[in-house]
Symmetry: C2
Subunit: 361 residues, 2 copies
Amino acid sequence: MDKRTKKATIIEVARLAGVSTATAGRVLGSYGYASTAIQKKVRDAADTLGYRPNRLARGFKTGRTQTIGVVVGDIESPFYAGILRGIADEVRGRGFGVLVTNSDENVDQEREAVQLLLEKQVDGLIVSPAAIAHADCLSHAIASQCPVVQVDRVVRGLETDAVLLDNVGSAHHAVTQLIDAGHKRIGIVAELVGASPKDISTFVRTMKPKLPLRHLYPSWQRLLGYLLAHREAGLKVDASLVRKVNTYSISAAKSATEELLSQTRPTALFTADGLMSTGAMMAIAGRGLRIPNDLSLVCFDDLDWMKFIGTGISAISQPANQMGVAVAELLMRRIDLQPGPPEHRILLAEFVARGSIVAPV
Amino acid sequence: MDKRTKKATIIEVARLAGVSTATAGRVLGSYGYASTAIQKKVRDAADTLGYRPNRLARGFKTGRTQTIGVVVGDIESPFYAGILRGIADEVRGRGFGVLVTNSDENVDQEREAVQLLLEKQVDGLIVSPAAIAHADCLSHAIASQCPVVQVDRVVRGLETDAVLLDNVGSAHHAVTQLIDAGHKRIGIVAELVGASPKDISTFVRTMKPKLPLRHLYPSWQRLLGYLLAHREAGLKVDASLVRKVNTYSISAAKSATEELLSQTRPTALFTADGLMSTGAMMAIAGRGLRIPNDLSLVCFDDLDWMKFIGTGISAISQPANQMGVAVAELLMRRIDLQPGPPEHRILLAEFVARGSIVAPV
DNA sequence: CTGAAAGCGCTTACAG
DNA sequence: CTGAAAGCGCTTACAG
């Protein structure tokens, strides 16, 4: 192989092999027929020239880039990192590339990202939509024939395939463990984006969400699971046990938990995602509370430290990798033009029982 | 804006505006001149047609795709996720996309990934090389004019810009804290890829690495920092205090730590990265050891739980985001054809002192 | 300041 | 089974 700096094109390969560029393309791109004799000539020529196909040119010509775009909130979050990992694994064998962007859960950033990805002619889009009410940029993508699959949440009125978690069921199950152990005052710390105190108390009372269930943010769905578990047990929920966080950050989760612990004295706590759990744990440790003796705890998202802190923290483990694999699968199907109505694939989380639940004192 | 499914091209915009495609391109791509009157006509036409530039076509023509490729071990690792975040942030404003791939620290996978990225005509490559002895695919990339920047480690003989951490200095500093507190038997749990027991004992004795210092894997550099700290204090190191891990996994780190704790009874422990720290903590908790009363501990990589476990774990905090920003900056310069000899940018880690170091009993 | 024309590196009907 | 030719959607010298 000749290592010159100038890249060889199919034209040069064809010339050296003494065939047309069409034929050279057919053997190198393995489409169409070619006699074995010619195949060998072409491959040899390609080898000696160190030919590397220009996928950009191919994509430009065929209209398919073998690239998918992914827009998530923040790849630094273990949940999204896990999803991304699953996507990359699923897609690699197919020779696809993955273009990633962070939206920071911000609609403008999401719009810009989608725009860029579309202009780069991705074959499909995987999005964890920042806003759930509407997403013009995603409708626009679909209108221009770019398949979209949503993950973790679903925009109202955006009819696409989606991969979701059974948030209500998982939270319900976890909180039921607490109730079964005898807890009656169970605090919950959750993101609850865009909630006012009034929204929360209304929701706690009525359990009627403003949007259809499947268009709720995950943290709202988890709250619903919490409420349902209570109702099922005939327990009334004191709205002051339900804490939202001011900004989506560990320190805000910590403050919210501190307030909750000092003001309403719950005997158990349920945290609605990994970030909440970490913040809550900081507050718990800060107050010198021992788990489970002083406080029972169940967390959404199973983080490393839950395995070794104290007697272990019982947790709901989201199958992030599998979610990534599933969402990539669904997208690939659509890229392959498989028709059919939108499919929502709902994955189940695993409840990992450890030593953080005991009867209240 | 007209939302038809067929995408408008610059030809149609030009026709509607009554100008040539060249002119339309000049105003839409903001290169070259155009009178304000024409600018308006073209923009209006673009708006009514809902024109979106095809960046693939542009890239194909200009030879610059405004896309960079990134190959890291595993995006699920918080360290790489942090780097990727930094890269994405740095690059977004420039309208660049980021194509990510996992090598799983496997040379073949790395080669395939680099190959694919090159064929996709990325403008540059950021790689955390899987093997340090050589990397033909990266030399190949450079030979074909694709700038490469290395991060976290550097391949021998591959002269590129790089962003590295001062592993030796950081480890030295951390271990010195332990020594200053009076510890004489300090265990270390590290990855130490490709080491035999003999390699380790030789290295402990001679402190002469097989490769030049800067081409050592991070875990070896951290071990060196550990050794230097001992030598400086006039302390001899018992080679049985140095534990490598059989596979790079939490459970292997846990087993290695268990062996270390039961066999050699150290009074303090130094873990050489986040994964080692998590595994070690599982072993420590499993044995019911309390930190710092039963064992002092310092960890490389500052993980969330180190803030709230017990009295806190003192840790070395790698500036992963900054590393990502730096590596993207360096790459962007080369993409802009800035000449000059390869630059190695060495970042410093921060030592976060918490409550995990006390005098040995 | 603007336009006509060539061309980036492939693939794809269409002939033969 | 193979080749000549057109064309994907832009940008870029080159004229004017």
